[in-house]
């Protein structure tokens, strides 16, 4: 397969190791992974705040960069949700629709498309608190949200369970929002940070050494909160664990 | 144009032009509890009600007599037990403000929720079930339906002017979630399982 790698703006700027892990992980399965140089952002920050018209140029650039791949894969649920479900500031040509339909978040790509059933190179002997971002949980349907009365499932748990040594610990509120919420984190920062303090404290109390997530945006916010209030916690993206990071 | 006409016109002008058929509502009774009486009793207890079990002596009315023994004013609207305030003589609801115990018979009950249905024919003066300090409800176990879907098929909702499901006593937890019984209405609700038209000696 020829895969276009989309590395969201904040991962590019602050968490390049997540991009590296994603690239290497996809290559381990023998696929050609291409990183279009001119990519920037999916447009979500503007759309999230209601400024849909201001996304148009950014969305057009995204389509130009990612046209023609078998799949577009990104290590970010919120960005992929935006591309698949909201991306409507530009005219919906067949090309636009193709790119939108072929864009996948990393966990769902590994679980549903590649159907990976083993990560023999991966070992993570630590106590881990899993954080499913609200975008991946309720929009991309990574797992069953606790509000619904349906059979349980969890794609991240399915994948991480195949990593040797990993031990899951559960916080009091496993799927309460951590407070990032995109531009909410800046425009409503008092409540946002209170939610972040609560989230990291909850995981710490449950005994987690690491919080792992498929969304670095949430991790970025939680890390900022943890450091500010002095909660001792490490943060890691699921791509890094699945790619063989041991710490 | 009257307000009525104005509102209806506004609705007609704004109604969403969508196809939304009315769904069929099943009775959801495929898996009923083994004993409706047991289920009713459990739920009644959960909701703060009291179930007056048949005493060892076999005297069905003994628990009620024990309850009302020290009461000053008992208003009984059932033939099985005599009170000392006649409901027929009540001029206006405030006349009932000193009633300690009201004794009524439920039209029927619902196992799913532990509720009893009291209608205007059961109460004669509706306010008695709310002004009394305590409520005792006679219930024929044969009158228990499995769930609310069955309940709403009953005639009481098409004939009476007033019908109320009572599920336990008056309650609130508006202050710090601390549960209170007797918030504004009755402080206790007790259910006595006794068949209709049971021939029992009155007091």
């Amino acid at each position: 397969m020829r895969i276009g790698l989309f590395i969201p703006c904040y991962i590019d700027a602050f968490f390049p190791e997540v991009g590296v892990a994603t690239l290497e992980l996809l290559e381990r399965f023998g696929h050609e992974v291409v990183y279009p140089r001119d990519q920037t952002c999916c447009g979500q920050p503007m759309a999230n705040s209601g400024f849909n018209a201001d996304c148009a140029a950014t969305e057009a650039l995204f389509v130009r960069n990612f046209s023609g791949f078998d799949y577009v894969v990104a290590p970010s649920g919120s960005c992929v949700h935006h591309v698949r479900d909201n991306f409507d500031a530009i005219k919906q040509t067949p090309e636009v629709k193709e790119v939108r339909a072929r864009t996948f978040e990393l966990v769902e790509f590994l679980h549903d498309i590649l159907r990976v059933d083993a990560f023999p190179w991966a070992r993570f002997p630590h106590r881990v608190g899993l954080h499913n971002s609200c975008g991946t949980l309720r929009r991309l349907k990574h797992a069953l949200p606790s509000e619904l009365h349906e059979p349980f499932f969890s794609k991240p748990v399915d994948l991480l369970s195949k990593v040797a040594g990993i031990e899951f610990v559960k916080p009091a509120r496993p799927d309460e929002c951590c407070g990032f919420g995109g531009t909410f984190s800046v425009f409503e920062e008092v409540v946002s940070t209170k939610m972040g303090y609560d989230k990291v404290s909850d995981h710490a109390r449950a005994g987690a050494e690491y919080i792992v997530s498929a969304d670095s945006s949430c991790l970025m916010h939680q890390q900022g909160c943890a450091e500010r209030i002095g909660v001792s916690m490490k943060f890691i993206h699921i791509a890094q664990i699945l790619n063989g990071a041991s710490a | 144009m009257s307000s009525r006409d104005g509102i209806l016109a506004s609705i007609r002008a704004n109604r969403p032009q969508v196809e939304r058929p009315l769904p069929h509502v099943p009775l959801f009774d495929d898996d009923p509890p083994v004993s409706l009486l047991s289920a009713f009793k459990d739920n009644l207890h959960r909701m703060g009600g009291v179930f007056l079990d048949l005493p060892a002596s076999g005297d069905i009315l003994a628990p009620v007599r024990a309850k009302i023994a020290d009461a000053k004013i008992v208003c009984s609207i059932v033939p099985e037990i005599a009170g000392n305030r006649d409901i027929a003589g009540v001029g206006a609801p405030p006349d009932l403000s000193d009633v300690d115990f009201a004794i009524v018979r439920a039209s029927f009950a619902v196992a799913e929720t532990g509720s009893v249905l009291l209608g205007d024919t059961d109460l004669r003066v509706n306010a008695v079930a709310y002004l009394a300090q305590h409520l005792i409800v006679l219930l024929d176990p044969a009158d228990i339906v499995v769930n609310l879907h069955h309940a709403y098929q009953r005639a009481e909702f098409r004939s009476g002017r007033y019908a109320c499901f009572h599920t336990g006593p008056s309650a609130t937890a508006d202050i710090e979630g601390v549960l209170i019984h007797g918030a504004q209405g009755v402080r206790s609700l007790s259910v006595l399982p006794i068949a209709r038209a049971a021939v029992n000696p009155t007091l």
């Binding site: 309720r138 919420g181 916010h221 900022g224 | 019908a163 504004q184």
Partner: protein, 512 residues
């Protein structure tokens, strides 16, 4: 006995529980009772949003003050999260739960699409049962109609049960100006009335108050001991003080949770029985009902009654579910059907389904923002997620900030018993408000600039590089200052040695 679920604030769990009602060794927690006893320390009560005429409500500012009152915030958060968990437990006991939600949603959408027919049917039936039916276009007309009915009966005092519609209409203030004494009989509403404060939650109006706050209010108004904050004492004092007012009231007023067109019935659900007192003690009963409350038949009522209390409180049903079909002998019954913007909202393509709302409050209980902000921070009759999507229809300017007071997490939509897509409507409102220019200039400018920068790769790369260098080299006081919203209460991300882009160029550049 299974171990109780862990808590976010385990220090709130009281070691002793002198308030508990125990039956057969089991601690009762029906109605709004908490699953576990909670205790916090006393502190002054934080007040709600500051309303300044028609200027946009600053929800953030009020939320910040709520968060700065940690005892109130923790109690509020834990109590409402507990209601959410109780709701989940009820849900797991009903195999057909999701089917019930789908049915409830379908019944409401059908009814709204035929609203005029069903209202007609209800009016017909109600009138033939002896009920007087009035129609009010707006809040002012509602107030005038009710006052007119009271005046015609020489009524000077009114007892009432909880009705969000009457809050919406500013009913108590109007009645006060007309010299009519109104007494709220719901404990939470009465506390708020005596404290001259709006209710903060559609189901538990005083959920934001501690027992010590209530003790203060009651000591100033009904003469309780200011030093005694025992909840049973306070509740009993309120019962004793209110009973005489109930007995001598000239008229009673209720709202309605559901209206059945088929039989001309309206249904009121309470835990206290105060709607039954309000309706059955005085001779005159007036019911204020929003036109969207109607459902077609009795068989549909079962679906909603099964969902309402389970969603709201995690209790299978309210203590009282009252069905009114006609006046009692010697009495008089009036229904006031109120529009107040509802028929207009019916015409909004993206938002009409918000009219399905049955006012259960489940969205408020699950909302992480609401639980930490308190309902009064929204400065509107309706707060929390449902408030965010209906308040802008009442006043787009005043409530223009509200749809932004959300992290768009989507939990609200999942707990809504009638499946309103609340979080999607919040998102849609943001677009509408931007298009209507109801957003701050600074935000608009920043977003325009972002839109331009992110569409130009070279400029974008330069900006990222500058930001990373800045973060790596600038002193703390420059990064963390009043202008940097990110950094007010959290650390900024660490700046890496190189961006992914540069890493790729350095390590994989040749392959391209």
């Amino acid at each position: 006995m299974s171990t109780p679920p862990a808590m976010l604030h385990p220090e709130l769990r009281a070691e002793v529980d002198p308030d508990a009602i125990i039956r057969d060794g089991r601690r009762l927690d029906h109605a709004e009772g908490t699953s576990r006893p909670l205790r916090v320390r006393s502190e002054p009560q934080p007040r709600g949003a500051k309303a300044r005429g028609n200027r946009p409500i600053d929800q953030q500012e009020a939320a910040a003050r709520f968060i700065a009152a940690p005892e109130h915030e923790k109690m509020h958060d834990e109590r409402l999260w507990d209601l959410r968990q109780k709701r989940d437990r009820e849900m797991h006991g009903i195999p057909e739960w999701e089917k019930l939600r789908s049915l409830a949603s379908a019944i409401k959408e059908h009814t709204l699409a035929h609203l005029d027919e069903y209202l007609d049917q209800f009016e017909d039936k109600a009138k033939s049962n002896g009920i007087h039916v009035h129609w009010a276009c707006d809040a002012a007309e509602h107030n005038r109609i009710v006052h007119g009915i009271l005046r015609d009966h020489g009524a000077k005092s009114l007892i009432k049960s909880k009705s969000m519609l009457t809050e919406e209409c500013g009913f108590r203030h109007y009645m006060a100006s007309m010299g009519i004494e109104v007494v709220e009989t719901d404990l939470g509403e009465r506390i708020q009335q005596l404290d001259n404060e709006d209710p903060s939650h559609v189901v538990v109006p005083a959920v934001h108050k501690l027992r010590t706050d209530v003790a203060q209010v009651f000591s100033h108004t009904i003469g309780t001991d200011p030093g005694n904050s025992d909840v049973h004492y306070l509740a009993e004092a309120q019962r004793q003080a209110t009973r005489p007012l109930i007995l001598k009231a000239d008229a009673g007023m209720t709202g309605a949770n559901f209206v059945v067109a088929e039989t001309g019935t309206f249904v009121v659900c309470t835990n206290e029985g105060n709607a039954d007192l309000s309706a059955n003690v005085p001779k005159l009963h007036i019911a204020s009902i929003g036109i969207e409350k109607i459902i077609p038949r009795l068989e549909h009522l079962a679906v909603f009654v099964r969902l309402l209390s389970r969603s709201a409180l995690g209790s299978p049903v309210t203590q009282y579910t009252s069905h009114f079909r006609g006046p009692r002998a010697g009495g008089e019954m009036h229904v006031v059907l109120v529009d107040n913007g509802r028929s207009e909202r019916l015409g909004l393509e993206e938002f009409w389904t918000s009219l399905k709302c049955i006012r259960c409050g489940a969205c408020m209980n699950t909302c992480p923002v609401y639980r930490r902000s308190g309902g009064l921070s929204y400065g509107a009759t309706y707060s929390g997620p449902i408030g965010l999507i209906i308040d802008p229809t009442f006043n787009a300017r005043k409530y223009s900030n509200l749809p932004f007071a959300s992290s768009l997490n989507g939990s609200c939509s999942n707990v809504c018993p009638v499946k309103i897509n609340i979080h999607e409507q919040i998102y849609a409102w943001r677009r509408v408000l931007v298009e209507k220019h109801e957003v701050p200039f600074a935000k608009k400018t920043a977003m325009k600039a972002a839109g331009v920068l992110l569409s130009q790769p070279a400029a974008y790369r330069a900006a990222i590089a500058a930001a990373d260098r800045a973060l790596a080299h600038l002193p703390r006081f420059v990064i963390y200052n009043g202008l940097n919203a990110w950094g007010k209460h959290r650390e900024v991300p660490h700046s890496p040695k190189q961006t992914f882009h540069n890493w790729y160029h350095a390590n994989r550049g040749a392959k391209r």
